[in-house]
């Protein structure tokens, strides 16, 4: 029988939630790396036993972990992230030039085909790759040095490269997103990059339609339509159907279009999910009611999904890497909150249950869909 493994990164360790294909009863394992901030864990699509984790600490810096047995045991791997050449400067919050400094790994994206190849998105924003299972990391400097880097500026959470999307039909194409620089695409395997922010409008920057400077919170793609991307920007939910060359706002009837997460149904490429957050100054749900919104039309028309979610006195946030979907026949949807809950739906969002309620603040959620041995 098939099953799922939910990988949860929190401010104080990692947790692995496991269930069979019904996704009704759960085993909770952890904390792994207790006391450390686990920004992200992700399994290799080519070998689900291979999982990478970003373990970080304000005291001890960045450490990387790798499991070869589905998260039962872990080993520390390489943690040297050195920018290529002289890193130069980007804009600081006050507009002054600030030296590029490595702080932490926000997001890991294993290769679709090779368990030993994995990409890392880091703060200060840059993209790294390892081809040896995480032992050694090399920057793909064409992104940071493509020309607009000195204009990039950190968002409130830091200048992080938080989204990496690999095109399953074109090994040379990759999308990334940076807060607060925007989205970028490479068509040559990461050698050169171009900003893909046309159509984004951000009132909080001097030129609202600038080529870079947009605070993109998250991008999602369905594997069957790699030219279509969905974006949760700081404000605005957007889509593109031409691999990022032009974006269109699809916030439609959302009660607020501020938020962090966005994801796509595993089998319906026009069904997307967001969790609206009240505003950029009040990072919690509207009126204390936690709602997932689903669009079955690729945006614009949205329905509120609340069954099983708290509808009063709820003031948590759902951070940008904290939503994922499984690939079982009835698509499962999962998200974690800063209040330590991980909610799961085994019916594509129609109803929700809290798998756990009292974890440390959840930073990231990923799902592995497992086949029976």
């Amino acid at each position: 029988m098939s099953g799922v493994r939910v990988l949860v990164g929190t401010r104080k360790g990692a947790f692995i939630l496991s269930s069979d294909g019904k996704r009704e009863k759960w085993d909770v394992n952890g904390p792994f790396f207790a006391g450390w901030q686990i920004y992200h864990l992700k399994g290799s699509p080519a070998d689900p036993n291979r999982i990478y984790a970003s373990q970080t600490s304000d005291w001890f810096g960045q450490t990387m972990q790798r499991s070869n047995d589905g998260g039962r045991t872990w080993e520390a791997v390489g943690n040297k992230f050195a920018y290529e050449g002289v890193p130069g400067t980007h804009q600081w919050y006050d507009g002054t030039a600030h030296p590029w400094e490595f702080k932490r790994v926000w997001h890991l994206e294993p290769s679709l085909t090779d368990p030993d190849t994995v990409y890392a998105g880091v703060e200060d924003a840059a993209l790294f790759r390892s081809n040896d299972g995480g032992q050694n990391w090399s920057e793909l400097p064409g992104l940071r040095t493509h020309g607009s880097g000195p204009k990039w500026q950190p968002g409130a959470g830091g200048m992080c490269l938080h989204t990496i999307i690999l095109d399953p039909t074109n090994a040379q194409r990759m999308y990334i997103a940076i807060s607060a620089a925007g989205a970028f695409r490479t068509d040559d395997g990461g050698v050169t990059w171009k900003p893909i922010n046309k159509g984004l409008v951000s009132k909080y920057i001097p030129d609202p339609t600038a080529e870079v400077g947009h605070c993109v919170h998250r991008i999602a793609m369905h594997n069957s339509r790699p030219n279509t991307l969905f974006m949760q920007k700081h404000w605005d939910v957007m889509r593109t159907d031409d691999h990022g060359d032009q974006w269109t706002r699809v916030s439609g009837n959302l009660p607020t279009d501020f938020g962090f997460v966005i994801d796509v149904h595993a089998h319906e490429p026009e069904t997307i999910y967001v969790v609206p957050i009240k505003s950029d100054s009040e990072h919690f749900p509207l009126d204390g009611k936690l709602q997932v919104f689903r669009s079955r039309t690729g945006g614009n028309q949205w329905e509120s999904l609340t069954k099983g979610l708290p509808q009063r006195d709820c003031y948590v946030n759902v951070l940008r890497d904290a939503m994922a979907v499984d690939a079982l026949d009835r698509c499962g949807v999962y998200f974690g909150t800063t209040g330590g809950q991980v909610y799961a739906s085994n019916d594509a969002g129609d109803s929700w249950n809290a798998v756990v309620r009292d974890l440390p603040p959840v930073v990231s959620v990923e799902v592995q869909t497992l086949s029976a041995p």
């Binding site: 304000d58 005291w59 001890f60």
Partner: protein
């Protein structure tokens, strides 16, 4: 043998107890000691001092013989009692955070 006490998270990471002992060739400086720690426990590279700049991480402190050695130059000699193993070299996480 030089005795070094590590903070809990680094003990867990390295899989060791509260104190480790190391042979460090003379002259025994802070830099030589950290080099020896990282050579014995490669998983600790980058966790005590920055990989690139080799500066002590801001939230760590180095104590020995009831003195704060955190701001000593990396090539200053360590106290004689540390060198002969009478006192441990303490790597301490600063009190901060929640």
């Amino acid at each position: 043998m030089i005795r070094v006490e590590l903070p809990q998270h680094l003990r867990t990471l390295a899989g060791v107890g509260p104190e480790v002992t190391l042979d460090v060739p003379a002259p025994v400086t802070q830099r030589a000691l950290l080099d020896a720690i990282e050579a014995r426990y490669p998983m600790l590279r980058g966790t005590i001092r920055d990989y690139t700049t080799e500066r002590r991480r801001a939230f760590l402190r180095f104590f020995a013989c009831e003195e704060d050695l955190s701001h000593e130059p990396p090539d200053a000699l360590l106290p004689e009692r540390v060198v002969r193993g009478a006192e441990p070299f303490l790597i301490v996480g600063a009190l901060a955070g929640g």
